[in-house]
Subunit: 380 residues, 2 copies
């Protein structure tokens, strides 16, 4: 193996693959980065056994300034290798493996010699052979992930809830996540899709978060390919593999109430600020709840929080519509903050039935495709 | 107490005083912020018993937009109070204490009620009555702190070394710090000073670091007043008090070697990058050292590091002058990195006597006023 490459182009591809590599792994070779040098490209692979990321650096892309003298393959300690490449003095770097598994890294007057491992020992990539393939617009996929991963469970007691349930049926992609205290559901009608394609998978929330970070750097659409136990997302020169969670996701569609006794419309951003203020005090009390009093009869919505040690806070909430019965309801402000952030600056409609039944938040502009549900807290 | 103030002006003064306030204190009232409202100003005080910071907000400064309706004093929980003020909705905030020690904080539609404490219970400020007062240019004081605090000891075994030894004699201010592995000494000839004024104090390194952070936001010169057990720095509307360390600082002047057998001149910034590369590997080995080989006979300086597990690195160092005997010397790269950073982009001269004797670094432009000394590591 012997090649010379523009250092900053190399670093940007390294950073991509590093996202999959953890120093805390029970499989030692997975702390390594696999590098395969072919006649006209270099393939970098990193994996933590849940996620595998593969990035291709092409010789015919002028930005890479890549000259391949000799092909070959090696696994190098990922963290060190990237730290070294990032700190090298010159604009270019040459990497050479002459014999055995020792790599010479040269840049300017600096010369490193690093011990590597046989690339043959690196786990092989899952094989994806499927006709279940859809193309998702980059922006839409990012939005779907952002709006649902917040509701993924962090508890280990029900591992299946650590995933986002993604289904495709009749051209509609549905993503659902719930930690049993709250639920987020997003639907997207896909255009130009073969209506015969359907799937029903549970993708680990952590994989979705990593994927979201990676596609936020690019603008390409994302091709999603599904098999029985793997999903593959392809964008640009990058392949992102994730294992799927095994098991049956709970039926969630009947959890969302279809009627309401009290409804309010308000700006998500402004309401978020009010909740943040109220939670300053509630966070300090043993049961971290804030209370919302809705009085359509007086056209008044008031939020309040308190901590016996510190003090109290109350604030009138600005609303654009308020209807139905008077209601007092308490909830965990953290759930509300997560939910409101997922709506950005939209106007939202919150629909309540009773103080102990879950309530829903939807954007007023598009009440069908995104709904967030929160279970209140009993305080009496 | 009743006043209304521009919120962002208030926050910037709050932030100043918060630097002194820790939530981990054995004296509960010191988690509080003392606020005294006078006829024409507000005085904020925070303290951790080592450091006390006092900030005055004047009614006649138009930026504060301060209206004082009623005077008074109270101690409020510092962290909450500042979190609340920072999150309030309106441009202005009104703070009112009607009876007892409960403060009403109002801004826009948000209203907080916070439990406070009697300001009489807050420890009184040390009284500074001294004629030992000097004015230090802001830039110079920041530089003196930056160049010396790095050598302050983090070990608790010799508490006296946790301070910077500052002396004033014959119009020369000298600051010295050492952790017994390295030493930094900076001298400043003060202009327009009464030569009869002298002092000899040890200021805690942590106090110096806090002070440095605060004066970096302003451009005013700093007045330094010294008493037997306190030092006071005054700049703008802020008073910064620190206790002094008690005891005798070790005699350090004779530690600095006056002769050299090998000297090299190089750019601090470029050499720092080389050391950072070499330390990538040395940090992974049990004895974290890098080796410098100086061969004036061949006009060659080479730096190297290694870790048995990972690999090796070596690099030729660019020098602008190299004289004396050939020498191989090993040292802790962290000490070298700290030292080189304190020189910025200057050209420096490093003077060695033997592989086991301390070596010195000085800027070539000003060899008298700043010297950094590092003890090498025995590797044979």
């Amino acid at each position: 193996m012997n090649f010379t490459i523009n250092r900053s182009a190399f670093i940007s591809q390294l950073n991509n693959v590093l996202r999959a590599i953890s120093s805390k792994t029970t499989i030692p070779i997975l702390t390594g980065l696999k590098m395969v040098v072919n006649e006209d490209n270099i393939v970098l692979t990193g994996s933590n056994s849940d996620i595998t990321i593969e990035s291709v650096i092409n010789a015919n892309d002028a930005d890479n300034d890549l000259t391949i003298e000799d092909t070959g393959a090696i696994v190098l300690p990922a963290r060190f290798f990237s730290d070294i490449v990032k700190k090298l003095p010159d604009k270019k770097v040459t990497i050479e493996v002459t014999s055995g598994f020792q790599a010479d890294i040269t840049s300017g007057s600096a010369k490193f010699q690093i011990n590597g491992q046989d690339a043959e020992n690196f786990p092989h990539l899952p094989e994806i052979e499927t006709n279940k393939s859809v193309t998702l617009p980059n922006d839409i996929l990012k939005e779907v992930i952002r709006q649902t991963v917040i509701a993924v469970s962090k508890q280990e007691s029900r591992p299946i809830l650590a995933g986002v349930h993604m289904t495709l049926k009749d051209g509609v992609l549905t993503a659902v996540a719930t930690d049993s205290h709250r639920l987020a559901q997003r639907k997207v009608v896909l255009e130009n899709i073969d209506n015969d394609i359907d799937f029903d998978v549970i993708i680990p929330g952590k994989s979705m978060e990593e994927l979201s970070g990676m596609i936020s750097d690019v603008h390409e659409d994302v091709q999603m390919q599904v098999t029985e136990n793997q999903v593959l997302f392809i964008f640009g020169n990058t392949h992102f593999y994730s294992r799927l969670l095994e098991g049956n996701y709970p039926e969630t569609s009947q959890l969302i109430p279809q009627t309401a006794d009290t409804t309010v419309e308000l700006e998500a951003g402004t309401f978020l600020s009010s909740i943040e203020r109220a939670s300053l005090l509630s966070h300090e009390s043993r049961n971290d709840v804030v209370k919302l009093s809705l009085k359509p009869s007086e056209n008044l919505v008031r939020i309040s929080g308190d901590s016996p040690d510190i003090g109290t806070v109350e604030e009138e909430v600005v609303t654009s519509a308020l209807d139905g019965n008077d209601l007092e309801i308490s909830f965990n402000p953290n759930y509300m903050k997560d939910a409101l952030r997922s709506f950005g600056q939209a106007t939202i409609k919150i629909s309540f039935t009773s103080p102990l039944r879950p309530f829903t938040l939807v954007p007023t502009e598009d009440q069908e495709n995104f709904v967030h549900l929160i279970t209140p807290v009993r305080t009496f």
